[in-house]
């Protein structure tokens, strides 16, 4: 019987190695797997590369991970100057790769979809293209982008069954589904547990085949 539920945080976080690339779902305060992030802090992995939409405000879930010196590199679409990530960056204590938000999402989708590279006009006419490969396609300058796979993805879901099928609530979907498909090890926390078959087949957003472990974290 397939059963992807784990029953404690230690099992959820097992085998996350130092140096891992961790894809962290969420946008703003919505859809962030905060409990799993706390679990990752507890688990102790360090020298991490974190892929997340933004460096986070002070007081945000990611700030604590940064403050503990566990993050070597941040791949994100923006960093606020007035945030811990911004201050670390300005002091040279944090490597930051800034990626346009749509390109970031698409690079993770590419990783999950076996697309080994793609061209996009996004950013091709900007500083972000400096020293990188571009090509004119259909009269538009385009930038070559490569997949952005994760060793681990941390996902927040609304409902899950034992196969790991997931649904999301409202705008909490955001990066979670593409991250689930882009990582070797996808770990989801879910607010609700449902029996197999209760999620309508047409409405499952992330099929369980993209999910390795599910932890029930009630709201």
């Amino acid at each position: 019987m397939i059963d992807k539920f784990v029953h404690c945080m230690a099992d959820a976080m097992a085998d996350i190695a130092d140096g891992s690339t961790v894809l962290l779902g969420g946008f703003g305060d919505v859809g962030i797997p905060t409990a799993l992030l706390d679990g990752l802090i507890e688990q102790g992995a360090r020298d991490l590369t974190i892929v997340v939409v933004a460096g986070g405000r002070d007081g945000s879930a990611i700030e604590r991970l940064l403050s503990l010196g566990r993050v070597r590199k941040l791949i994100c679409s923006f960093v606020r100057p007035a945030s811990l990530a911004g201050r670390l960056l300005q002091r040279g204590d944090l490597e930051v790769e800034v990626v346009p938000q749509g390109t970031m999402a698409e690079r993770m989708r590419a990783a999950g979809a076996g697309i080994t590279g793609f061209y996009t006009p996004t950013g091709a006419d900007t500083l972000l293209a400096e020293g990188r490969e571009t090509r004119e396609i259909g009269g538009k300058l385009c930038l070559l982008e490569y997949p952005l796979p994760g060793d681990v993805a941390l996902i927040e879901a609304w409902s899950a069954d034992r196969w790991g099928n997931l649904t999301y609530r409202d705008s909490a979907r955001n990066f979670n589904p593409v991250m689930a498909m882009a990582a070797q090890l996808s770990i989801a926390m879910t607010r609700n547990v449902v029996p197999l078959g209760e999620l309508t087949p047409e409405t499952i957003v992330t099929p369980g085949i993209f999910v390795d472990r599910v932890l029930h974290v009630p709201l």
């Binding site: 305060d29 800034v98 749509g102 996004t122 979907r173």
Partner: protein, 217 residues
């Protein structure tokens, strides 16, 4: 006659009245987000937020906030009847793929060739805030900018060429400022409208680029 520069709401309202029913529109952070407040609900404009919301509605009543529903500015919103959700890659497929009839962004500078600069104040600024602006700027059918006509210090933001790092080249179609509405035509900025009391001479004095009054020459 005294000039009456518009405030943030005035600029947003000026932009809002030019949006036809049925358009799919993405509103950037800042003044652009206010534009939605000036589109009457019976006028069906579909607002897209990069975080996967199609059909963003007005702010909720304080006692009816849905904690799972925010817009790209991370403020709580509602979903319009008929709205739906998608993930981030699909959401940016909408932006990049040319499905937005309109994107409205703020900017530091706009140039007469349609260039926009809105993400960094210098090339060697250590902290950069790209967000989704580059994807939106290159992808939308038309890009309008809403911004103050000059900096607080009075420096021109409507320029022959941008001095700040570019977000995208040749994409801006129209600019709404606190003083005027300018179209970006092949030969440069064309004055489409001005606030009460403004003259072309006074506007030109606050503008580095040459202002035109004819849509073709």
């Amino acid at each position: 006659m005294e000039v009456s520069p518009l405030d943030r709401n005035g600029m947003a309202a000026w932009c809002a009245r030019d949006i036809p029913e049925g358009w799919l529109v993405n509103l950037g952070i800042g003044i652009p987000t206010l534009v939605a407040d000036f589109v009457p609900p019976e006028h069906e404009v579909i607002f897209h937020a990069e975080n996967g919301v199609i059909g963003v509605g007005p702010a909720p009543a304080p006692d009816a906030v849905n904690p799972f529903l925010i817009n790209a500015s991370t403020t709580h919103v509602t979903l319009r009847t008929g709205g739906s959700y998608m993930h981030h890659a699909d959401s940016f497929a909408i932006a990049r793929g040319g499905h937005l009839d309109l994107c409205v962004l703020g900017a530091f500078e706009v140039a007469e060739n349609g260039d926009i600069a809105n993400w960094a104040r210098s090339a060697d600024e250590p902290v950069k805030q790209v967000g989704g602006a580059m994807d939106l700027a290159i992808g939308a059918q038309r890009l309008w900018v809403v911004m103050e006509h000059t900096t607080k210090e009075g420096e021109a933001r409507i320029r022959q060429r941008c001095t700040y790092p570019l977000t995208a080249k040749g994409v801006v179609k129209r600019v709404y400022t606190n003083l005027a509405v300018l179209d970006v035509a092949p030969h440069g900025f064309v004055v489409r409208d001005m606030v009460r009391g403004m003259t072309l001479e006074a506007l030109q004095a606050r503008t580095e680029a040459k202002l035109h009054t004819e849509f073709s020459r």
